[in-house]
Every structure is written in structure tokens, then in C-alpha cells.
Symmetry: C2
DNA sequence: CTGCCATTTCAAGTCAACTTGAGGTCAAGC
DNA sequence: GCTTGACCTCAAGTTGACTTGAAATGGCAG
């Protein structure tokens, strides 16, 4: 079995060695052994780091991410909890969509003052106000 | 003109007074005057705070947010910069969608080990890999 | 065997975004 | 007129997520 040095993991994942050590320290990832002093990682850690990166993008703390994907890297949570997390992400997507639309609107709207533009006010008010709008629905293929 | 005390702004926006003072300090919002010692805010600040909240959800720093919506609260950036920000948000939405799909998949996939499930690996690998997939396109109504 | 260089540990530092606390002010209600 | 409660300022503290630096280690190429 070919293991990876921390430097290789860093190179392939874009995560710095210091961050990788920190992740290991807080139990977010783990190395399988040592070669001398050096941590050895299995290549699956790259997948985990991808997952972690996604979680960070979604604004979750490392603690929350650790809660989603245990140290093995795999979620071991009840179905409904996972779906709740997914729902939270969907809500976040809604807000991002509102911000994006607001930005695009502002870029293109010729009105002199946006504060008076009803479209602008409506877009901005979309945040927080849960809408029933359908967002980017895409099923996942059956495994 | 009826102005708002910091406490009222806090109550209506959900942002703590200390945070509001901090936002003013860094020039993200501004109060219009004082009533004795007390800051007075115009109600538009609530809209601004909504915008700020959206920006935070999107993972922008307060500095970046301040860059988007100047102290007047309104974006005063060139069209293309605004569209670039919007594009960045779209990319973020893509990643969030991948994470959400991954979570839902894991919740429902009966496979014993996800690491070996090709669907799982494909979903995870979606992050970082820019896809040409169309995402949640929704135009904004003309103002 | 000798260097070299990527690693190691550990403590301390940094940055953003606030929060907390102490001590002070003031307008409004009694 | 006095009290009260919501506000004020300013300095310092906190949390999360790392980074940095110093001093040590150890495998491998020459």
C-alpha cells in the first residue's frame, strides 16, 4: 500500500501541511501511521478533504463538519439529521440566490436610486423571508 | 422623520447593539445623528443589514461586503465587477448543491461502505471540478 | 558517514468579528 | 429633582482557524 506524505497531501489537496496537522489534531482527519516521524496518509483523505472544503464553503464550522463526517470520513448520522443538514444548505442556497439576483439587478437596473426601486427592495427582502420558490432541484442517481 | 435607537434596530434586525456599533466603526453602516449620546438610525439601515446578512451567508468578509455596498448601502461598482461577484456566488451555489446532494445520497444509499460507492465518489468529486451544469437560473424581473 | 531537507513538536502569534466589562452620560417618567 | 434604564466609550478578552518560528529528528542520496 502506497501512503502519502503530508507534503503530497498538501500538494494534491491545496491544504497546507500546518492546516492538515491542525485538522488531525482536532480529529477531523487521521493519518494511518508514521514513517519515521512522518505522518502517512491514505489517499482517501483527499476525498475527505474535498468534503471538508465543501462544508467550509457552506459556512459550517470545523466542528460541525466533524459532526457530519466522523473521523472515518463517513457520515454516521441518522437519516433525518442528514436531511436536516441538507435542508439547511438548501436554505442557504436560497439566500445566496437572492444576493446574486440583487447584485445582478443592481448591475443592470437603470433606476437612479435603488432604495426606491421596488424590485430592489423586493429582492433584498427575500433574505430571511422563507419563500416557497423551487431551487436547483436535482436528484442524485440511484447507486 | 422618525429615527431608530440602536436597541430598536437590534430588535428588528436581530443584530446585537455591540455588533451594530462595530459595523459603524468599520464604516459598514452609519448613524445619521445623535439624540444626546444615542445613535439615531434611519430605517433604511434595516435593508442594509439584510444585505449584510446575505453577504455573510455567502461567506464574504465584512470588508468585501463593505466593498460591495458602500457606506450609503448601495453598490457603486462597475457592472462587470458586480457580475463577477454574482458569478462567484453561482460557483458557491454549485458547491453547496454538491454537498447537499452528497448528504442526501448518504442518507439514502444502502451501500455498506460509501467510499466504494461510485455515486458517492462522483458527488464528492464534484467540488472543485468546475462543471458546465446549469444551476438554478432565475432571471430578475425588469424594474 | 555526511549532509540535506522535508518533516516533527510545541508554544506563541495572528486575524476577523465580535463580546464583555468598567465607568460614565443623559432624557424621560415619577 | 431624582432615579432609572438604555445608551455611551474604550480597552481588553474570546473564538475559530490557522500560521509561524525555533529547535529536533530521521530517511535517503552521494
Amino acid at each position: 500500500m502506497k501512503f502519502l506524505d503530508i507534503g503530497e497531501v498538501a500538494a494534491q489537496s491545496g491544504v497546507k501541511p500546518s492546516a492538515l496537522r491542525y485538522y488531525e489534531e482536532i480529529g477531523l482527519i487521521s493519518s494511518v501511521s508514521r514513517h519515521g516521524l512522518r505522518r502517512q496518509f491514505v489517499s482517501e483523505v483527499l476525498l475527505q478533504l474535498n468534503l471538508i472544503a465543501m462544508g467550509k464553503t457552506a459556512g459550517f464550522s470545523l466542528d460541525e463538519i466533524a459532526g457530519m463526517f466522523g473521523r472515518n470520513g463517513m457520515p454516521d448520522l441518522p437519516r433525518d439529521v442528514l436531511h436536516a443538514k441538507a435542508d439547511a444548505i438548501d436554505r442557504k442556497i436560497l439566500e445566496l440566490s437572492a444576493l446574486r439576483d440583487t447584485l445582478r439587478h443592481v448591475a443592470d437596473c437603470p433606476a437612479p436610486s435603488h432604495m426606491e426601486c421596488p424590485t430592489f427592495r423586493r429582492l433584498v427582502s427575500l433574505a430571511g423571508t422563507p419563500r416557497k420558490t423551487k431551487v436547483f432541484k436535482r436528484g442524485f442517481p440511484s447507486s
